[in-house]
């Protein structure tokens, strides 16, 4: 069984939003809701500035607060490492939305269930990358199997220093960030 992770090379992100539109269409995300976003953080004072482009999405945590709090078992961890939602079991109580430290869940108001990034589970079943990765203009988003030592993501995580978001909350995310800032060569 693979263990899916995403690696995001922040230095290569140009904040073009191709991933955001790809995700919305691929997953039929309702208006004004998103499963992924690109956050642009600028620090410093003119003209000494430094900025960070950060794609954010569900971290598919190994210690997922959304799963731990879900009263019906709708949110669950799968063997492939992804966190998924069983829509039939979801009662729309929003406990997961409160529990998630990453603000990546929403309620699908039309159908009443919680929803979020699935790593494009339906595409994974067909052997395809998530839609955001497939269209990423900067090749900033990479995806693969951490249990395969030869996968691109395994190699990168072995060779590059990485971080995850909010490690202090102990969620053990499966979305890894590298090169927070472009190299100042």
């Amino acid at each position: 069984m693979p263990r899916y992770v995403m690696v995001i090379d922040q230095s290569r992100c140009v904040a073009c939003m191709a991933c955001v539109v790809a995700c919305k269409r691929e997953n039929d995300v309702p208006a004004e809701h998103y499963r992924t976003r690109v956050v642009e953080m600028v620090r410093g004072e003119f003209p000494r500035l430094r900025s960070e482009m950060r794609s954010e999405l569900c971290n598919h945590c190994d210690n997922p607060p959304c799963v731990n709090i879900c009263p019906t078992g709708a949110s669950h961890k799968q063997a492939d490492g992804t966190v998924q939602i069983n829509r039939r079991k979801c009662v729309g109580c929003k406990a997961c939305i409160t529990a998630c430290p990453y603000d990546v869940r929403y309620i699908n108001e039309e159908h009443g269930y919680a929803d979020k990034c699935s790593f494009c589970q339906h595409r994974l079943k067909e052997g395809k990358e998530p839609a955001c990765v497939a269209t990423c203009i900067g090749r900033s988003r990479m995806f693969g199997d951490l249990d395969d030592p030869n996968s691109e993501v395994s190699q990168i995580l072995r060779e590059t220093s990485w971080r995850t978001l909010k490690p202090e909350v102990g969620t053990k995310p499966n979305v890894y960030y590298i090169n927070q800032f472009p190299r100042k060569s």
């Binding site: 904040a15 073009c16 939003m17 191709a18 003209p47 052997g127 990358e129």
Partner: protein, 736 residues
Amino acid sequence: MAFSRRNFLKYAAMSAGGTLIADTPFLSARARAEAEGGNVRYVPTSCEMCFWKCGAIAKVEKNKQGEDVVVKLEGNPLHPQSMGKLCARGQAGIGQLYDENRLKRPMIRTGERGDGQYKEVSWEEAFNYTADKLKAVIEKYGPESIAMLSHGSPGDYFTNLLKALGSGNIAFSSFAQCKGIRDAAWELTFGHKPGSSCERVDLKNSKVIVLLGTHLGENMHNSQTQEFAEAVGHGAKIICVDPRYSTAASKASLWLPIKPGTDTALLLTWMNIIISEELYDKAYVEQYTVGFEQLKESVQQYTPEWCAKETDLPEADIVAAARDLGRYAPNVVIHPGRHVAWYGNDAQRSRATAILNAILGTWGRPGGMWLPAKGKFASFNDGYPKYSDPAKDPVIKGDYPFAGGEGLTQVVRDTTITGQPYPIKAWFICGTDAMKALPDQRQTLKAIANLDLMIAVDILPSETAMMADVILPECTYLERHDGLFKVEVREAGVGLRQPAVEPMYDTKPAWWIASELCKKMGLADFAVKDSWEARMRRQATAWGIDYDKLADTGYVSLPDSAFPYITADNQPEFKTDSEKIELFSQKLEEHNFDPVPKYEPTDEPEKGMYRLLYGRSPVHTFSRTINDQWLWELHKENQVWLNKKEAESLGVKDRQYVRLENQDKVVSDPIQVKVTERIRRDCVYMVHGFGHNAPRLSRAHKSGADDQQLITRYKVDPITGGTGMRVNFVKIIKEA
């Protein structure tokens, strides 16, 4: 490999345990549909959400009613301008196709011009109305009194109509309001434009990339941005010259927040440093250029110390950048830019960019600029008769000796107002919102008021289209054939546009509209003989290309057409008079222009005023996409960027709504302030294209503010006739 459904499933099962693939391998549209099986079609085509013409693949399914529906757009992996990816806009083409605000049926105006009152009519009625009015104008004023303003593919078909009628008054905003100035300047220098399909910048192999006001990332030209990210990823030095900390600046190892309007000072000083420190490519200059001594002498006056004062940049940074360029030359590139209509002396700045590239030897070098592809395309005009010469010379080049064939829109407008040298009384407006494209809307309105006939061919009810007397609704790019398109990247190739679905409503392809009008005007010889697709097939045959293969794959490359770099056997050709790169231009001297670029200062803002800068959002193309629901949702309104210290001194808070008032007392619609460290104190910035005054655009109407409304002044480049638009100043008015 034959690609059956069984193979595909096998492949999928194989890859599920190992490497994932971006998508079902795309060998051809038919093979992919067969592999996936079921209720799906794939249609390779060319995107028109901007003008990069990326190869796109439309996925078409049948809905419950049995109608074809475009459900997804993806990049064509075979096409070099998309390389398997589409940007946000490209994917959102479906939003344009299914935009409920589209122009749906031909309409004839019933009220006053601009009051939005129309009646829907049949195509026959619309054509009869148009033809009768055109004939009346021709009879009274002559055929040259009919003009066209255009941007995008409908223009090609109506160019044929106008030329057949006997008018050469055809102008595209892509020249005077955009990149024509640059093209003319590079032709004067290298005898070539810096690119056709795209700029020939070899970014992925560059060691140093200089961007002057070119904001890649926000300016989302697909393959070029992919290469830019590649360059950033492998650690190329990015030197970004921009008064604003753009996305590109955030990737730069050196950001030079230059005082607006002083770029030429920086370029000339860099040349001085590079020449005086002997960092230029001596053998290259010797072999391929003329006028080096004159250049050397002319740039001596531009010292780093002077430049630091003029540009408001640290002297050490100016020198360091020049040395980096010298150190890594020739594997460096100074990007030629694209929209360069800034200050009214833009041809000379573009010349300076070209010359700096030349002395660093970047033309034809890895990481510099690749050489034009050698693709042979046989001439093809499908047996049309020749156009007879227009009775009167077109006005479109004004008094500008190096204005290009695309024409000067503002000269057409001025002639329409003055009637000199002859009246212009009818306008075709094809695929352009002239109110948004041209500076000084007051003049545009004045010209429109002078017209006997205004015909709009467009997809959406834009402000300009909704002033026309007759509106001919074009279908979107996903519903029509266009092309063939020459694709000229490192290699040459051919792309096409073909419909994914039938035209919705009562809309029609522009080729058909123009062709029917030819017939109505008694010019049947110039009408399309059968169908545009049949013509494309004949063109493919003339070009030696298998049309069916092209239609199935979306792109066919011409073999042995890529010769990107200079070698002993691959010498560059410069189509200048001297057949060399002209650092010194005899031609310019003959027309009494500086043969070597010189620096001229630009007017500065008065106290309390800021220079108005404008630019782009990665999710919008000018004003054309604002109403697209997918894109509008991501970027609904623009903001005005204001330096934090200035905001503090004005007492303006982040996200507060203000109005902008320009030097001519024109006041904008309300706009939100973005208080930021990311811009200099002497300028403000907003994204172009917002603030539509078009009530039928339910999302875009009055969303944000219109920069073009505030651009009441423009300074014309004397060499090319380009309209420099960064010469307007605004003050901030707090909303009561």
